[in-house]
């Protein structure tokens, strides 16, 4: 199903749109080929901006695509169209217009409903290209006119045009220019207008207000020349139906055709109504439609072209991704191969000296084992040594001995079980008891603060009186002991 990009906007764009880029040259890009294929009649014109450059009318009726293809070279030769962008205003047997009343809950609900209807149509009649035209209604439901063109018809037509280098960018139903006719006619009025146009044996009727949605549109098989009464009856029925839809009567009628049908309409519907009659003017309709933007919601192929653009982008993206992925993988493989080649070369170099390596490895292992043993040996030899504590302690204490103090015993021992040095000292000291105590106290303090860090056992010392020589000073014996290098 080829769907429009969105439902019709309420406000139809009035500003002339820039033509689509065609790509041949700057001058050609501005040109637009407009083809009005309305029933069997075929009119074409070339537009450059808003002006008509050339026009052409098919000399014979054109009913089928084959007939269209047959007259296309003559058309192009006559128009000398330099561009590619083509607009088609179409009314054809295969172009179906179907009124639908969608739920008016919301725009998305209405859109979903319409898509479902189109999907059903697709199942029954094949894939269409389509657009939905919102209709004005006095009732609460949302009225739409679905314009459905078989995709096969579109593709065939597109193929015929593409073979001539033409890009079919826009297809509009006849309702679009007829609405523009109403806008032009009733620009200053809000009164509804009925437009009826003769299209080669058919009658297209559209009722609406200026600048607003049409109330309804219909196409009936009634020739203005052969069935004037029926045309009058159908126009009158349309007036009555429009009154139901809009809630107000239609007082202006515009007839785009000539013949006895005009009189029949005047006779049946003329009471109190303003009726204008003009010739059909397909080229003017084309000109009006050409002013619309290519992305106009009433362009049947806008969605199709958007899809084509999306596909083109997707294809480009896929191609870019594939090439980038390929390049990336190639670079990765090349990089891996370079690294692995380097590894192989390094391995070859290592392999060449494998014997040497193994010899070195064995030698180094032996060397390390020997070093371990040597370190342990050196450490053990050092650990076994004892500092020269006894001699140093003896020398130190000898330097500290005060006058009158004599050592009679001195002993320093290494206690291997406790890993510490002990000492004992005994001797005599001359003087009274108090001064002897003080001297020993002083010696003790000096030894405690000295580098040998003596710590005395409790009691730190003993002092006993000794028999002193006659007329000599008092004599005391003392002893002390403790440990060395204790913190």
């Amino acid at each position: 199903m080829i769907s429009p990009p969105e439902l019709e906007n309420p406000a139809v764009p009035q500003a002339p749109a820039a033509p689509r880029a065609a790509g041949r040259s700057r001058g050609r890009r501005r040109s637009l080929l407009g083809i009005a294929w309305l029933g069997p009649s075929l009119d074409a014109a070339v537009f450059a901006g808003s002006s008509i450059q050339a026009r052409w009318t098919a000399p014979a009726p054109v009913g089928s695509i084959e007939e269209f293809a047959a007259v296309l070279p003559e058309m192009l030769a006559a128009l000398e169209f330099p561009g590619t962008e083509t607009l088609l205003l179409l009314e054809h047997d295969q172009f179906i217009h179907r009124a639908e009343a969608a739920p008016s809950a919301s725009e998305s609900v209405a859109r979903t409903y319409l898509r479902a209807r189109v999907a059903r149509h697709e199942r029954e009649c094949g894939e269409p290209v389509w657009c939905a035209q919102r209709m004005a209604s006095a009732r609460q439901d949302a009225s739409f006119m679905l314009h459905l063109l078989p995709a096969a018809f579109f593709e065939h037509l597109n193929q015929v045009l593409a073979a001539r280098g033409l890009d079919l960018a826009r297809i509009h139903p006849l309702a679009v220019p007829l609405q523009l006719e109403i806008d032009e006619l009733a620009a200053a009025s809000e009164q509804p207008v009925l437009v009826a146009a003769e299209i080669s044996g058919m009658t297209a009727i559209l009722v609406g207000r200026s600048g607003n949605r049409p109330a309804f549109s219909r196409t009936i098989r009634a020739s203005w020349a052969d069935e004037p009464v029926r045309v009058g009856v159908e126009v009158n029925r349309s007036l009555l139906y429009a009154k139901q839809q809009l809630g107000t009567s239609v007082d202006r009628i515009r007839l785009l055709g000539r013949g006895p049908a005009v009189d029949a309409v005047r006779a049946r519907c003329g009471g109190g109504r303003e009726i204008q009659a003009e010739d059909p003017r397909p080229v003017a309709w084309l000109q009006a439609v050409a002013r619309l933007a290519p992305g106009d919601p009433m362009n049947l192929v806008a969605g199709h072209l958007q899809g084509k653009r999306r596909k083109r982008l997707l294809r480009s993206g896929m191609a870019a991704a594939c090439w980038l992925g390929l390049a990336s993988l190639a670079v990765t493989i090349w990089s891996d191969q370079t690294v692995r080649r380097g590894e192989r070369e390094r391995f070859a170099a290592i392999s060449a000296r494998e014997t040497v390596l193994r010899g070195d490895y064995g030698r180094l292992l032996l060397r390390d084992a020997a070093m371990r043993g040597e370190r342990e040996f050196i450490q053990e030899a050092a650990d076994r040594r004892l500092p020269p504590v006894p001699g140093r302690t003896l020398a130190y204490i000898a330097g500290l001995l005060p006058k009158g103090l004599r050592l009679s015993e001195f002993q320093v021992d290494w206690d291997s079980s406790a890993s510490r040095w002990t000492f004992q000292a005994a001797g005599t000291i001359e003087g009274d008891e108090e001064s002897s105590h003080a001297a020993l106290e002083n010696l003790q303090q000096q030894l405690e603060r000295s580098p040998i860090q003596a710590r005395f056992t409790e009691p730190p010392r003993t002092l006993t009186a000794l028999p002193s020589p006659s007329n000599g000073p008092e004599l005391f014996g003392f002893s002390m002991g403790g440990t060395l290098f204790e913190n």
Binding site: A319, C322, W323, L329, D336, R340, L357, Y361, M371, G391
Partner: protein, 215 residues
Amino acid sequence: MKIDPFHLIRSGWALLTEVPGWPSAPAWTRLRRAIPIALPAAALLVLAAWKVAYSDPGDRLGQAGRQPLLALEREVAALRLACTDRAAQDLKARASETARTLSSSPQGIDAALASLEREAVAQGWDAKFQPVNSRADASAKGAYVGCQSARGKLRPAAGNMRPWDTLLLLLDRVSARKQPIDLTHLAIRADEEGRTSVEVGLRISYLINNEAIAQ
């Protein structure tokens, strides 16, 4: 949402091969249209398959085969980095120097004690040193260095008028010897008549396991 895989395939095929404005293009034209995407995609697939199925496994296999030798090379480099040959030689020299100072036989210990006696005599002391205990007692299993205890008795020689100073000098000499002889016991006694006797305990280190320095 129900997804029709065939529809997806058809859409993908259409996207790949659709010729704009020519829905009924012949197969060859459609295939040519697909080339810009299909060619790199196919090449990508072939390269990826070659890499995953052939190249990478082969490389992994090769790397696994090379691993032992590479590991050996890394190990040798690590061993060389851990210690230089010069450092090893220096350590060996230090170990040899240490070993040279140690006695390696009972005769060596006896000689050391005799040497001490001579040293004492030289300093004006009469000395007698003798080993105590058995040599095996002092060493733990697997130790490189053992210890031999010894005792000695010293008395000032006749004529030694400076026993105190000479004793300190003698003790200093003992400590300063290269041969590791440590003083573990020192007892000095002076009787009422001023006679001095000295007892010393010694610990002499000796080499009991020369494997470390023999390698």
